[in-house]
């Protein structure tokens, strides 16, 4: 058994993992830090390895029973308290564990009205976060790679806190290929860019209400009920009220930075 603490956004997690090797692998995403004994972790997780079979992109089945919420995807199973602060995760392997953690954490932050996880990469330029959203293949990872050596906050799942004073993009542990830069700090977003690969660079503004509709498909969230699903809309409203949205047409080089950071 291996225990470590980590932080995602404002939340401290305590993770008890039955596999020392899996715990060590998870720590490349979820950096451990010394626990403060006086501070109760916000989330307590127990992780067991060896469940089910390897990832096949099956849909997540969600059942609410006896005050618990159960997610099952075949390669992971989550049994969570209704507030998502305590959960047992049975996972097949490291990939399953990462996905299960993202499923759980996204549910918690929506439930608490804390923020959203967006299917987007995000990069820091002069102290502001630039968020690049798009479907698979749109160029999120490409843009992240082209933006080097700028600090990377996320290459696939951008974590956005929606606080009383506005939106903040936080370093995200939910990465696909490249982890968040160790020196990246949370910062306010300059804009959200909806990506299109093109033959020339162009940026056009998107009306806020249309921006909200577009961003709906990029929210990482698996609602366990209709009531839960409704929580996403007010969060997106807070986001688009605070952050401008643009269409970004870009060539496969870093020239788009001259356009968006001017």
């Amino acid at each position: 058994m291996s225990t470590f603490h980590t932080q995602i956004g404002d939340h401290i997690l305590r993770i008890d993992c039955d596999s020392t090797e899996l715990a060590r692998s998870l720590q490349t995403n979820f950096h451990p830090f010394p626990a403060d004994p006086s501070q109760e972790p916000h989330i307590r997780l127990q992780i067991q390895e060896g469940y089910g079979s390897a990832f096949r992109n099956d849909p997540v089945k969600i059942v609410v029973e006896a005050g618990r919420i159960v997610y099952d995807r075949g390669d992971y199973r989550i049994e969570s308290s209704e507030d998502f602060r305590q959960a047992a995760l049975a996972v097949h392997d490291l990939l399953s564990a990462r996905h299960a953690l993202m499923t759980l954490y996204s549910a918690l932050i929506v439930r608490e009205g804390w923020g959203l996880l967006l299917h987007a990469s995000s990069v820091v330029e002069r102290g502001r976060a630039y968020v690049f959203a798009g479907r698979s293949g749109a160029g999120k990872s490409t843009v992240a790679r082209l933006s080097a050596p700028r600090a990377l906050l996320a290459d696939e799942a951008t974590l956005i806190k929606l606080g009383p004073s506005g939106a903040t993009v936080c370093p995200s542990p939910f990465h696909s290929e490249w982890p968040a830069s160790r020196d990246a700090a949370a910062c306010s977003p300059a804009g959200i860019y909806l990506l299109h690969q093109a033959v020339s660079d162009e940026r056009t503004g998107v009306e806020r209400s249309d921006g909200l509709l577009r961003l709906l498909e990029f929210v990482f969230y698996w609602p366990h009920s209709s009531a839960a699903a409704r929580h996403v809309l007010p969060l997106l409203k807070r986001l688009v009220d605070d952050v401008p949205i643009y269409e970004l047409y870009f060539r496969k080089n870093n020239a788009f930075w001259e356009l968006i950071s001017s």
Partner: protein, 89 residues
Amino acid sequence: MTTQYVREPGLETVQVDENWIILNTDDYTVTKLNDVGGYCWGLLQVPYSLEALAAKVRADYDSAGEAVQEELERFLAELTRLGLVRHAG
């Protein structure tokens, strides 16, 4: 008896600038209304007949003529089709 219309319960609505966005989580559809549509949506928290709704729109938007009622009839038919309003009572 005059047909009255009212919002379906349990829908999430937000206003963004002059527009209104309604999320129907029964079928996960999203509907966007302009400012007049949003105004009507606000009224439909309680039952309204087509005629009463048209009278309110004419008064508050300084509009005249039968076109208002015809457009509202189409609007209400569309909202009904989308599962956002129903016949009341």
